[in-house]
């Protein structure tokens, strides 16, 4: 029989080893899964674990996928640490995309003379404003009416999605687009500057990395950051200290909404170049997994986004090359999350094999 014993002190060794064990478990379980689906497990696993990292182009694509995941997960980590359960990053992402896309559309149609570098700060501001405004609705309802932020933020995702559909089917539709529900292609001036010509990776990636470092400094090196993190695990201590829980709700939601919004703006002004009904690609939801896999730590979010992006890319490869269903990629992500949470138990607990003995009743 196996027993779990509480460790007197959390194991440092295990906190390093646990993600590696989780990865090993995921690879093993995935291998069995692919074998059961009649595919060569080594080949499919290499699509998930090797090919996304193989070559410069693959790496830049990986960075491109990481960018929105990092930005969304940073804000979510802050929210979750202060017990604000914002699961509507997808909606805030969409509103950021709409705001950033709307700005790009205006620049395009009004033929405003701008350089991409001048447009960059504008589109960041617009995206942040769009996402933050959407999250502000959640904050307002929670603060004023004590509405459950989980429900409100989730439902606002669908509102945002439908709003986007209305825009691209209606007022913002490209008049010369053969009636396709999409805006015109944005002018070149609105494109997020790229690192290298010919690669899709843009400077938004650098923005995300800088944001991660700033978030880390904010969370662990400033009084406000510490305050926000106390409200979650120890609300009585936060009350005792006099930290306002209302302001924590507002701050975390506005910050995370803003970051998700910037991610959305980068996506439409970067690789997409126009608004379509298909801007929503699940980044906001995947970012929840990223935030938790990264242990709600800003730098953890960067690492976790790399793993999850590789899984997304690997899933696409497996789908196009060996005809594996797209949902398998999701299953694979799920296995990773489950294994990681399971292995985290080992940080605070110890497995002990106990010999089964029959004892006489007293």
């Amino acid at each position: 029989m196996i027993r779990l014993d509480v460790r007197p002190v959390p194991s440092l060794r295990m906190s390093v080893l646990s993600p590696l064990i989780a990865l090993a478990v995921t690879v093993a379980a995935g291998g069995v899964l692919f074998l059961a689906l009649g595919k060569d497990p080594v080949r499919v696993l290499s699509m998930f674990l090797v090919e996304p990292f193989h070559g410069v182009r693959a790496l830049t694509e990986l960075g491109l996928k990481c960018t929105p995941l990092i930005l969304c997960a940073l804000g979510l980590g802050l929210c979750f640490r202060s017990n604000v359960w914002n699961i509507g990053a997808e909606g805030q992402f969409l509103m950021g995309a709409i705001a950033g896309g709307g700005l790009a559309l205006w620049v395009t149609t009004a033929s405003v003379a701008l350089s991409p570098w001048a447009f960059f700060p504008l589109v960041v501001t617009a995206g942040a404003a769009g996402g933050a405004a959407w999250a502000a609705i959640v904050a307002l309802l929670r603060d004023r009416f004590n509405a459950n932020e989980i429900l409100v933020s989730l439902m606002l995702v669908y509102v945002a999605d439908l709003f986007l559909s209305w825009l691209v089917f209606g007022p913002w539709k490209d008049p010369r687009g053969f009636n396709f529900p999409q805006t015109v292609q944005f002018a070149a001036a609105t494109e997020i500057p790229r690192f290298v010509r010919g690669m899709r990776l843009h400077w938004g990636f650098a923005f995300a990395l800088v944001a991660a470092v700033l978030m880390w400094l904010f969370m662990f090196r400033t009084h406000r950051g510490i305050q926000l993190q106390i409200g979650g695990p120890a609300p009585a201590a936060a009350r005792y200290a006099g930290f306002s829980s209302r302001s924590a709700v507002w701050t975390t939601l506005l910050v995370s909404g803003g970051l998700a919004g910037v991610a959305g703006a980068f996506e439409v002004a970067g690789p997409m170049g126009q608004l379509t009904p298909h801007v929503a690609s699940g980044y906001g939801f995947t970012a929840i997994i990223v935030a938790f896999v990264g242990r709600l730590h800003p730098l953890g979010a960067v690492l976790a986004s790399v793993v999850l992006s590789a899984f997304v890319i690997g899933g696409q490869l497996a789908q196009s090359r060996v005809g594996l269903p797209a949902s398998v990629s999701g299953v694979f992500q799920g296995i990773l999350l489950l294994a990681l949470l399971g292995c985290d138990t080992l940080i605070h607990h110890r497995l002990r094999l106990v010999r089964w003995t029959w004892r006489t009743a007293p």
């Binding site: 009084h223 120890a234 006099g242």
Partner: protein, 512 residues
């Protein structure tokens, strides 16, 4: 001669480099009340956890009724008839008293039977307890009653109590002693962990003294004095509290007919509470837990800013609706009753826990000067003799007494103008308790207004210049401590002062 109910031989337990128990031997006879005496960190709790199967010893053996027993889990211990009341309560806040008790019982018992069982045991042992109240509204003292009743329901053959009287009135403690004597007379053995010497002398048949994890003495407490026991425990005479009479100055903190409905229906509403605390004096508030202390403290600290603005005044300014941080800025500091989760955040380091109430290490834009913060925390650790791995140790890694020293130290170190303290020495050993008291008196002498809310009368008599009693949300008039007697304060605790809630009930024909 019958075999001892419980015997320990050569029990040793190490945590890393720390030896918590070193070759400990112990024997408890059936029906014996056996004291385990020792300072914080002497290894009492670890030893009891070993007996209870919560911790596995590295070496040694355990005999039950003379036969070797293999206790590998609390489940095994309960099967043998061992029950334990922990110092840290293991209750679920969101459940009621009865549901909490029910959780630990076998599935064949219905909730209704549990409710009846609780009522029965509570009546039998004179413990006032409503089985339907949710645990989160109970005070520490009331929670402890839940634990005691829960243990009694198992009809134990060995009951382990970890500092059970810490929050009881003298009358209630006497009642508990009666309970324990009754229980012992039925043949149940009792292991009584405490550092309250007079209790051990009054109650226990046998006493084992631990110091630094070793047994330093085994004696009959009836033949010892508190002084000799204390010498055995700390290896030296406890420092005496020296005090000069107070020279009270201007009113610093006051309440004027403070009336406040409780947050929840099981709480206690405050009614017409009027109170003055002057600079340079210590005012004590006595009372049985659950009579409005929590509500009064929350209203004074600013955690509950619902009072009428003018009902609470700090240096003549109305602060009833001012938040906790703003009150602290004006010089009002507060030490709460709950250490973990309120006075300190369990998962945060001691250094970061400074930031709950202290801002000296903050720079522009709230930037934390980490070196300054660590220095500040280290200073508190050093000055208040806190045993901790260092400023980066998590708050939850400290023992209860050490964390209390840290929190009290943190607030004293701020040199407040007004200090409100709840249970300043709860669970703290004799040496540290007298040190904390001496610091409080020193703070008073430096002109600070100090309000102590405590359920330990001994402490209030030692500390306070004037005493109030709180009962059913109402506050008695104050009486100079020099003129007060334990009997009178004990009566007041039942609301029996002129115009008090007990008096009104008596006049109305109800039972006092």
């Amino acid at each position: 001669m019958t075999a001892p109910r419980l015997e320990l031989r050569h029990v040793t337990k190490r945590y890393g480099d720390v030896v918590a128990n070193d070759d400990v031997a112990l024997a408890v006879a059936p029906g014996e009340i056996h004291a385990i005496l020792g300072e914080n960190g002497a290894g009492k709790s670890t030893l009891m956890k070993i007996v209870y199967g919560a911790v596995a010893p590295d070496a040694g053996e355990l005999l039950w009724d003379g036969a070797p027993a293999d206790i590998r889990s609390p489940h095994d211990a309960r099967a043998l008839g061992i029950a334990m009341v922990f110092q840290h309560f293991s209750l679920f806040d969101s459940l009621t008293v009865a549901e909490n008790v029910w959780l630990g019982l076998s599935r064949t018992v219905s909730l209704r039977e549990v409710v009846e069982g609780i009522r029965g045991k509570a009546a039998e042992y004179g413990l006032d307890l409503d089985p339907h109240r949710p645990v989160h509204v109970l005070s520490v003292g009331e929670r402890q009653r839940v634990e005691i009743v829960r243990a009694l329901l198992a009809n134990p053959r060995l009951l382990i109590l970890d500092e059970p009287t810490a929050v009881l009135t003298p009358q209630a403690a006497d009642k508990l002693f009666e309970t324990l004597r009754k229980l012992a007379a039925t043949g149940c053995s009792i292991l009584y962990i405490s550092h309250k010497l007079h209790e051990i002398v009054a109650l226990c048949h046998q006493c084992t003294v631990l110091r630094g994890g070793r047994v330093v003495a085994s004696c009959d407490p009836a033949r010892e004095s508190t002084a000799s026991l204390s010498r055995l425990m700390i290896g030296a005479e406890p420092p005496r509290l020296e005090r000069r009479p107070a020279s009270a100055g201007a009113i610093a903190l006051s309440t004027r007919e403070l009336t406040l409905e409780s947050h929840d229906r099981f709480g206690v509403a405050l009614e017409d509470v009027s109170l003055d605390v002057r600079a340079g004096e210590i005012v004590g508030i006595a009372g049985v837990s659950g009579n409005g202390q929590q509500e009064l403290l929350a209203a004074l600290s600013g955690e509950d800013p619902r009072a009428d603005a003018g009902a609470i005044q700090l240096f003549g300014q109305p602060i009833g609706r001012v938040g906790a941080a703003a009150r602290r800025k004006r010089g009002l500091h507060f030490v709460p009753e709950e250490r973990l989760g309120r006075g300190a955040v369990p998962a945060l380091s001691l250094a970061n826990n400074m930031l709950l109430t202290r801002k000296e290490a903050l720079r522009a834009f709230g930037w934390i000067d980490r070196a300054a913060l660590r220095d500040q925390a280290s200073g508190v650790l050093r000055r208040y003799w806190v045993k901790a791995a260092g400023p980066s140790a998590a708050a939850r890694s400290l023992s209860g007494g050490n964390l209390q020293k840290y929190i009290v130290g943190r607030e004293l170190d701020a040199v407040p103008k007004v200090l409100v303290v709840a249970q300043p020495t709860w669970g703290v050993d004799v040496g540290a308790a007298s040190q904390i008291r001496a610091e409080l008196v020193a703070l008073r002498d430096a002109g600070c207004a100090v309000l102590v809310v405590s359920e330990e009368l001994e402490e209030l008599f030692a500390l306070a210049d004037r005493l109030h009693v709180i009962a059913k949300g109402r506050l008695s008039p104050s009486i100079p401590t020099a003129e007060a007697t334990v009997e009178q304060i004990g009566e007041w605790m039942s609301g029996l002062w002129a115009g008090g809630p007990g008096q009104a009930a008596a006049l109305a024909g109800g039972s006092p």
